[in-house]
Amino acid sequence: MTQTPTDELLRKILGETRVIVCVGVSMNSVRPSYFVARYLHLRGYRIIPVNPAYAGDEFFGRPIYDSLDSVPGNVEVDMLDIFRRPEHIPEIAATAMNRFSSSLRTIWMQVGITHGEVAKTAESKGLQVIQNRCPKIEHQRLFGELRKMGFNTGIISSKL
């Protein structure tokens, strides 16, 4: 189980990922999930928001979908980022694994969210699973941003 992912795995995921579907993300600009999506967008990831409350609105010029089923099937989603409570996870994960089976490589559950069974199933299908983490914080930590405000990044390097 990837409960404590190594920095190496986190770096690999954040490095290889291009398209992230964010399920349950809020468009309220002071909500934590909006911070995450906005940050990842500004770092160059393509964000596909899914949230029925904002269906039809836009996020940086791209449509917000009401469900995973409405996301066009030809989009090469390589990461599912879940902002929903654990009870919704099995269904969301199953839909995503089915719909994006050819491209999906990672299932990521946000801080406070874990689901052992879903993680096991996904890993048995060769997917990478991260639980109880925030991709924004991990990106900020691993790529130098948190260092600017005196956080303990755990990174020691003698290289430029």
């Binding site: 002071v30 911070f35 940050y39 914080i137 005196g150 956080f151």
Partner: protein, 432 residues
């Protein structure tokens, strides 16, 4: 944040937080002696001001040299991040600021640095805050002193003036069951001798003025957060759990999780209270920290040798040092502070106030200064100096009675320090 890399202390004290400068390749951390930073564009500026991105805006809030110091100390303390301040005293106020509202109180140990006793018994009252002083050996009193408006418990690890080491695990249990953070001033122990977060503390404060800079060169303070406290578990900490008006109603803990306290310390604390550390001081302190473990080993070894010598001397009434086998705290010190009980201790001279004054005036290597944690050995007669403002009862409780002298043992040759004390004692006692 569970850090996967596990380097040893000596490696971290040299490297944590620092990397070769990306533009010049400079290997030592440069001193960024500038106030402001250019924004890439208006969006970048807005994102920084909204806390959507972390970056440099203005050196009152963040500075690259200061950031290295913050990361270095928070790494050595096994914390999540740090906030550097202009002095140790500033760090104490800054540490309390996010926790306290007018009418709130803190429960604090009677065995604290005299300046802290004054800050907590007088100055913080002007903010509507109050401190209840209790003997931390009496656990029932500590528990009873915690009330509905108590927002933190505060103590030192190895205590200044000395001779006492706090049982941090036991005190942290009291804080945990009350749902409030334990703040530990780890100045006299340094993270080399004690890592309070590993023993259950939530927040650490430092006067980096002492052993961290190490050479008596510059003022500085630092707060380290463990990142482990749930600020939203109760309604006690609205600054962290409730909407912050200055940031469009953002809730720090909800939005930033374990990073909340440190971000608040920069984005609200340093921004509005302004007690930031100077980049040059951060640079000098970083140089000091590179040799922290080596210095602490010598400080402690010298302190033990000298305390043992003093204890056997007929001119001495008592030596109060947890590093001595005779100390009532010796067992605790061995268990919780296995690398040593610090290099700060007091001794009582047979004679009293005047003998102490003569002793201090007769020393040739020990310097009479109101400081500790210098490479040089230091001496002070607390009752006539740092603890002068305290009542006799407070002096006694703080270990600063009139016949007591405090030593901060440096890294000189122990034999020379003993010879100096010997000749000064001879002169001091001869006149009685």
């Amino acid at each position: 944040m569970d850090l996967t890399a596990t380097y040893g202390f000596d490696t971290l004290q040299v490297h944590a937080g620092a990397q070769p400068d990306p533009t010049t390749g400079a290997r030592q951390t440069p001193v960024f002696q500038n106030t402001a930073y250019v924004f890439k564009d208006a969006d970048h500026a807005a994102a920084l001001f909204n806390l959507q991105e972390v970056g440099y805006i203005y050196s009152r809030l963040t500075n690259p040299t200061v950031a290295v110091l913050q990361e270095r100390v928070s790494t050595l303390e096994a914390g999540i991040g740090g906030i550097a301040c202009s002095s140790g005293h500033a760090a104490q106020i800054m540490a309390l600021f996010p926790l306290m509202s007018p009418g709130d109180d803190i429960v604090v140990s009677t065995r604290l640095y005299g300046g802290t006793v004054t800050q907590f018994s007088n100055t913080i009252r002007r903010f509507g805050w109050r401190a209840t002083f209790v003997d931390f050996e009496d656990l029932a009193s500590v528990r009873n002193a915690v009330g509905d408006r108590t927002k933190a418990i505060f103590t030192e690890s190895v205590c200044n003036p000395g001779g006492y080491v706090t049982d941090i695990p036991v005190i942290s249990e009291i804080a945990d069951s009350a749902g409030i953070p334990l703040i530990v001033d780890n100045t006299s122990a340094t993270p080399y001798l004690c890592r309070p977060i590993e023993q259950g503390a939530t927040l650490i404060v430092h006067s980096t003025t002492k052993y961290l800079s190490g050479n008596g060169t510059c003022m500085g303070g630092l707060i380290v957060d463990s990142g482990r406290f749930d600020w939203s578990a109760s309604d006690k900490f609205p600054s962290l759990s409730q909407p912050e008006p200055a940031y469009h109603g953002l809730k720090f803990h909800e939005t930033f999780g374990e990073l909340a306290y440190v971000l608040h310390g920069h984005a609200v604390g340093l921004r509005d209270l302004g007690a930031c550390q100077a980049p040059m001081n951060a640079f000098i302190t970083l140089l000091g920290i590179e040799t922290l473990s080596l210095r602490m080993q010598k400080h402690v070894a010298n302190a033990v040798t000298i305390a043992e010598w003093l204890e056997k001397d007929p001119r001495i009434e008592a030596v109060t040092y947890a590093g001595l086998a005779s100390s009532p705290y010796a067992e605790r010190a061995r268990r919780l502070y296995p690398k040593g009980a610090g290099a700060l201790f007091t001794f009582a001279v047979k004679g009293g106030y005047d003998t102490c004054i003569r002793l201090v005036d007769s020393l040739r290597i020990f310097s009479h200064v109101a400081n500790l944690g210098d490479t040089r050995s230091l001496v002070i007669h607390s009752a006539s100096t740092t603890h002068r403002q305290l009542t006799p009862e407070q002096q006694e409780a703080a270990g600063a009675a009139p016949n007591v002298v405090r030593l901060s043992i440096g890294i000189e040759d122990a034999d020379d320090l003993i010879a100096d004390l010997d000749q000064a004692l001879t002169r001091a006692v001869a006149k009685t």
